[in-house]
């Protein structure tokens, strides 16, 4: 009760300055939004992604975020979109790892790379030969790795969700 009284006193004091009550309501609305706000890739992850993209596309290109997600980009050379690049995070055993997926302009998966891995278990998924399996077969048919079960299953789920999400977005757009 004391807290309510204090609040009413506070509200009375700032009356006329701003619709105080709205501010308080907004604050409590914004709190959960901040908690579930989109993942912000670290600078190290962004730099590594840029390095991989510039190696992958030998010609000059520019990139801009697409409306679906601010971590998904379209890769543009001389006014035409040549590819899409998605930065994502997925759970490993007791942490999260960052990965990059590059799609062709027809939403075909061209490259998958692990950019940052943060724990002792499951780092085997960074093996490029293993990752390349995702380019040629459905996620569920990708081979298991002994000692990396959680990260393997997590990446399989993340990639198949991303594939679906990107295809849907592309179809709706065109």
């Amino acid at each position: 009760m004391k807290l309510v009284n204090y609040y009413l006193k506070l509200e009375n004091e700032v009356k006329g300055v701003l619709p105080f009550r709205w501010g308080v309501i907004l604050f409590f609305l914004a709190f959960p939004i901040s908690v579930f706000s989109q993942w912000q890739p670290s600078n190290a992850t962004l730099n590594k992604a840029d390095k991989i993209l510039s190696q992958f596309f030998s010609s000059e290109y520019s990139k801009s975020a697409i409306d679906l997600n601010s971590n998904y980009f379209q890769i543009i050379t001389s006014d035409s979109i040549i590819a899409y690049a998605c930065l994502q995070q997925a759970p490993s055993k007791h942490d999260r790892f960052d990965f990059l997926a590059i799609y062709s302009s027809e939403m075909e998966l061209l490259k998958l790379r692990v950019l940052a891995y943060r724990e002792n278990y499951g780092g085997e998924i960074a093996n490029q030969r293993w990752l390349n399996q995702f380019l040629t077969r459905p996620s569920k048919n990708v081979q298991a790795i002994s000692g990396a079960t959680i990260s393997v299953e997590s990446l399989k789920r993340a990639v198949s969700n991303l594939n679906r999400q990107m295809k849907k977005w592309y179809e709706e757009k065109s």
Partner: protein
Amino acid sequence: MKISLHLLLLFTLVFTTALSAQNSSENILGSPEKLIIGGYGQIDGNFNLDENNSMNSNGKLDVHRLVSFLGYRFNEKVTFVSEIEYEHVVELYVEQAFLDYQIKNNMSIQAGLMLIPMGIQNLYHEPPTFNGVERTNVDKYIVPTTWREIGLAISGLVPESSLKYQLMVVNGPLGFNNGQSQFSGKSGIRGGRQKGAEAIVSDFDFAGRLSYFGMLGWNLGASFYKGNSETTDFKADSTQIGITMLGLDARYNNGAFQARGQYILANLENTSQFNAYTSSDLGSKMFGYYLEAGYNLLEDKSENELVAFARYENYNTHHETDGINTNLAYDRTDKTIGFSYKLDKGAAFKADYQLKSNAASTEESKHLNLGIAVWFYFYEIG
């Protein structure tokens, strides 16, 4: 009005900090997507099938292990990991409890109670990840699994070279505790595990592991441990032994086929003086290995897996002795065949049949083991 403006400023400040999602108090208070909850367990039935065995003819039903995992990601760089374990229902342990701090991409330091990175099963011991109801005995008598002590570690990943590494400064096993040897000829250094419980420190030891995963389907590992055992009487040299342990292991899987093998050699120094002083019978060299192959009979037929496997295992805690007689009964061989029926990646029924023997006799004892194995992780995907 002046007060009101201050309040407004304060309000804006609190509002923006909350939005940034980096507020430290928010991290202490927690948010669901940073919490990691998990667990694993095994419930076993062990039956001796020998007709003339009156001593061990009773079976045993046991909630062998039940482990709760609780972790928390404070931020992108800092994670806390803990595992609380019930063994045989009545014994309570902390199996792991450490803080992991990422110092750069793909490299981090850990401090706290950690697993010694020796061999396969000490690190990868969630029951659905291995075949057989019980853990391998090489990983019981030579590697004293679950081997964990308090220490400091650095670990990392080199994706370009397909390498993973871990280096650790850690407390050693307690060999001598107030006049009594904790080591034995039968179980090696197993009785000396301090498990982070008011652990005695007289020397720091070193441990490390390097794994190579560059070949598709293969996972190769090399482990080492070097140091001295701990003692409550640090003035007496004969209460300590030197420990050098080396391990090599390989795991392979390709479609329905899977195989793994492990080789562990432990060289123990000063055992002659240690045994004389403590009236113990510790060997000076311990050695063990196993080879296992399995085949998923339901490959391409079902989402579930039915893995039939066979394993040959030899472990000898008296491979060499110094100043004492070698006990041939400590040169043991286990032959195991069985099934793991995986209902999911994290849930399995297991059954196996074991023939156990030792070099002191020509008899083999027969054992049937039945069990369930579970393992799960839960994240709130943010």
